[in-house]
């Protein structure tokens, strides 16, 4: 728990009581602040009973409050709290600004931020594990092997304060950060290292166009010239985001998805690809020479470093993630061999890749959120192992526009029957039908699994569909899956 004298005696309002909001309430109350909190869900309000005053912030006079702490899930552009707070002259802040205010009173710590469209959670988990190998040889004789992290696969509302609560003692933190949040998170925590994985089309109705995201990252990094950027030089957009930074460690982490970078993010002209090399035809912008790379057997690094690397996680994409995690940890002083051993042991990330038993079915869970992620996930699906269930939702965190289903090569399953599931299973069924894939449609994902012959089932799901199913399987398959919403702060 973070406590700081800077909050003592002040009044804060907290809107949205999912993990992030809850952590903010607890940190503020423990620091001696008084807190008024609200969430539309009664059970969320119950969780802060006795700690905070409960009141609907929209019917409250906010004058005299130090700030309104709003969950990252609250859409500020259209939520009435924005006008209410402005009328009272009270700033709207996030938990990360709270952390920034408390920061100067906390013990010294170093933060690694991990961002990108795909692989954030996995790479953050690997980075945290690799940083954990940093031992007693650290300065001042402190033991730094405890690493705070938020690698839960819910980076938007995972609650950076909740994650950094551990950083008070840890001195090290590995944080996955949503691409668009990188600038203000970097301003708040002044990261020692930022890891840039990849950028591709993702939830276009929510996040926005890809070149805007690259510009946002580039501008955010420009304010932190001392931060070491560990960037994937196989990804044109991430290379552009890192290109002007004075301290870059280039990693050839792979890039199977080039469809969003046909044009140069710096000139608008065509990017020419020649094997693994690429260059812009409009300006002096080309693939930098990597200091780290990998193949099917080894990881390679500076000064002739070569180490065998065998991962518990499947897929080439995870070898790229592991290489970036190792590079980040070595940048902060980790021993390369120890870091490689650490990342190799990661075998599950927030339920992904794990196999669970559901009655007569053993279920392996894969997460995919966008065309690039699906391309990777489909390559990991073992179609010989058993049945295939694909579950798709279209809630706000998923993006409501599922047109991207048509950018995914579902023709891959032309010889393999698929069960389409999820709240938007019908969209998927239509896609599979036109792809010529034999399929059935069972909206409830648990029923979709039990509709398969007994034995192994490979499940691929998008974000909220994955969270729902993961939680339901954790209860042994019981529960109101069809009705359940994702676990986000609700406040509208």
């Amino acid at each position: 728990m973070i406590t700081s004298p800077v909050f003592r005696g002040k009044r804060y309002a907290v809107l949205g009581l999912a993990r992030s909001g809850l952590a903010s309430v607890e940190a503020l109350v423990a620091s001696g602040a008084s807190v008024t909190a609200w969430d539309n869900r009664e059970e969320a309000r119950d969780a802060v009973a006795g700690k905070a005053e409960i009141a609907d912030l929209l019917s409250l006079d906010l004058i005299g409050y130090e700030g309104v702490v709003v969950s990252p899930g609250v859409p500020l552009n259209r939520h009435p709290i924005t006008a209410r707070a402005a009328a009272a002259g009270v700033p709207i802040i996030g938990d990360i600004e709270l952390f920034a205010q408390a920061r100067q009173t906390l013990p010294p710590h170093r933060v690694v931020g991990v961002t990108g469209t795909n692989g954030k959670s996995t790479t953050t988990r690997m980075t945290a594990t690799a940083l954990g190998t940093l031992g007693p040889s650290e300065p001042q004789g402190r033991r730094h092997q405890t690493v705070a992290t938020n690698a839960e696969g819910a980076n938007m509302d995972a609650g950076l304060v909740a994650a950094l609560a551990g950083a008070r003692d840890a001195g090290l933190a590995a944080l996955e950060v949503d691409e668009m949040h990188v600038p203000h998170v970097a301003d708040a925590v002044d990261p020692a290292v930022i890891v840039l994985l990849n950028l591709s089309r993702d939830q276009l109705d929510r996040v926005g166009e890809i070149n805007l995201i690259e510009r946002t990252l580039r501008d955010g990094l420009a304010r932190h010239p001392s931060t070491v950027v560990v960037a994937n030089c196989d990804d044109v957009l991430m290379t552009s985001a890192a290109y002007d930074s004075p301290h870059v460690v280039w990693v050839a982490a792979g890039g199977g998805w080039a469809n969003d970078s046909v044009s140069c993010p710096r000139s608008g002209e065509i990017i020419v690809r020649d094997g693994s090399h690429w260059y812009s035809t409009g300006t002096d912008f080309k693939r930098p020479t990597p200091q780290w790379w990998f193949d099917d057997a080894n990881i390679y690094g500076p000064d002739g470093l070569s180490l065998p690397m065998t991962l518990a996680l499947p897929g080439t994409v995870n070898r790229g993630n592991a290489t970036q995690a190792v590079a980040a940890a070595v940048t902060l002083g980790a021993d390369p061999a120890a870091a490689v051993a650490a990342v190799s042991g990661v075998d599950e990330v927030a339920g992904r890749y794990r196999t669970v038993q559901l009655g007569a079915h053993s279920v392996r869970m894969l997460l995919a959120k966008n065309p690039a992620g699906w391309q990777e996930a489909l390559s990991m699906v073992d179609t010989d192992a058993g049945s295939v269930v694909i579950s798709v939702n279209g809630q706000v965190p998923d993006g409501e526009d599922l047109s991207w289903l048509w950018d995914v090569n579902f023709e891959h399953f032309v010889d393999k029957p698929v069960v389409a599931a999820g709240e938007r299973g019908t969209d998927l069924a239509v896609r599979l039908g036109y792809a010529g894939v034999e399929h059935s449609l069972v909206h409830n994902a648990v029923e979709a699994i039990t509709s398969c012959p007994p034995g192994h089932v490979e499940v691929v799901a998008n974000y909220t569909a994955f969270l729902q199913l993961n939680r339901t399987l954790g209860r042994g398959g019981r529960g109101p899956l069809g009705q359940e919403r994702s676990d986000r702060g609700s406040s509208g």
């Binding site: 109705d205 046909v262 608008g268 950018d407 019908t426």
Partner: protein, 238 residues
């Protein structure tokens, strides 16, 4: 035509395929094949001149830089314009509407000359219009409501030679407040609807195909009917 293979041009999927719009060509091909026609998709990329001899053409959405590359390419290799002049059906989605007009202004205010197939111009709106759209078609041959998902900053205004494709029931369409979506001029049909458009609106797919192969027998797909029920009933958020 039915005796030979119907060739569907997928125009510049490398730069104009941001929102799954390549799916429209898949829907067209499959709806022909299921009725016994031979059909194939011909992908035309930035490394190819645009052929004028294909049977119909589809174009999709794009972001600013990519949209400009596409516009330059279509003006340099005017195969699409030649095909439209002889009446080949053209389906243009989202940014492709803007590309086929007289000109469009980018979000940074720069004016880019378009292909000129459609009598319309496009300028940025104050806010992006994003969400589910339902519209009532205004052209002969279409009787069912159209469903799609729009996501665009550009606001399009039609000139006298272009008519709207549909009256908007919910959503924005061409420009917030104007109440119309899309454009129809000659053999070109344009709309802001993604989804992809033809996956949700099989009547429009068959209308375009019938202009190539003549009248088509009905093709009922239960899941498509179910998808239409679900999407037409879906509320627009925000």
């Amino acid at each position: 035509m039915a005796e030979s293979t119907v060739r569907i041009g997928l125009v510049l999927p490398d730069v104009m395929g941001t929102y799954g719009d390549g799916g429209n060509s898949v829907v067209l091909r499959q709806r022909l094949r299921r009725r016994g026609f031979d059909a194939e998709i011909v992908a035309i990329t930035l490394s190819d001149p645009v052929p004028s001899g294909l049977d119909l053409y589809t174009l999709g959405g794009a972001e600013d830089y990519a949209q400009r590359l596409a516009t330059k390419h279509l003006i340099r290799y005017p195969g699409l314009q030649q095909a439209a002049a002889r009446g080949a059906p053209v389906l243009a989605i989202c940014a492709a509407i803007q590309v086929l007009g007289h000109w469009y202004e980018t979000s940074s205010g720069e004016r880019v000359d378009g292909v000129g197939l459609l009598d319309l111009t496009t300028s940025p709106q104050p806010d992006r219009t994003i969400g589910e759209v339902v519209s009532e078609p205004l052209v002969p041959g279409l009787s069912e409501r159209l469903s799609g998902f729009e996501n665009h900053r550009g606001g399009t205004v039609l000139g006298a030679a272009a008519g709207p494709l549909a009256k908007v029931i919910s959503g924005a369409g061409n420009r917030a407040g104007d109440g119309i979506d899309g454009a129809v001029q000659g053999s070109v049909v344009a709309t802001y609807l993604h989804g992809p458009c033809l996956a949700r609106n099989p009547e429009l797919a068959d209308l375009l195909l019938s202009r190539v192969v003549g009248e088509l027998p009905p093709l009922e797909i239960d899941e498509v009917a179910q998808l239409r029920r679900e999407r037409l009933a879906a509320p627009r958020r925000g």
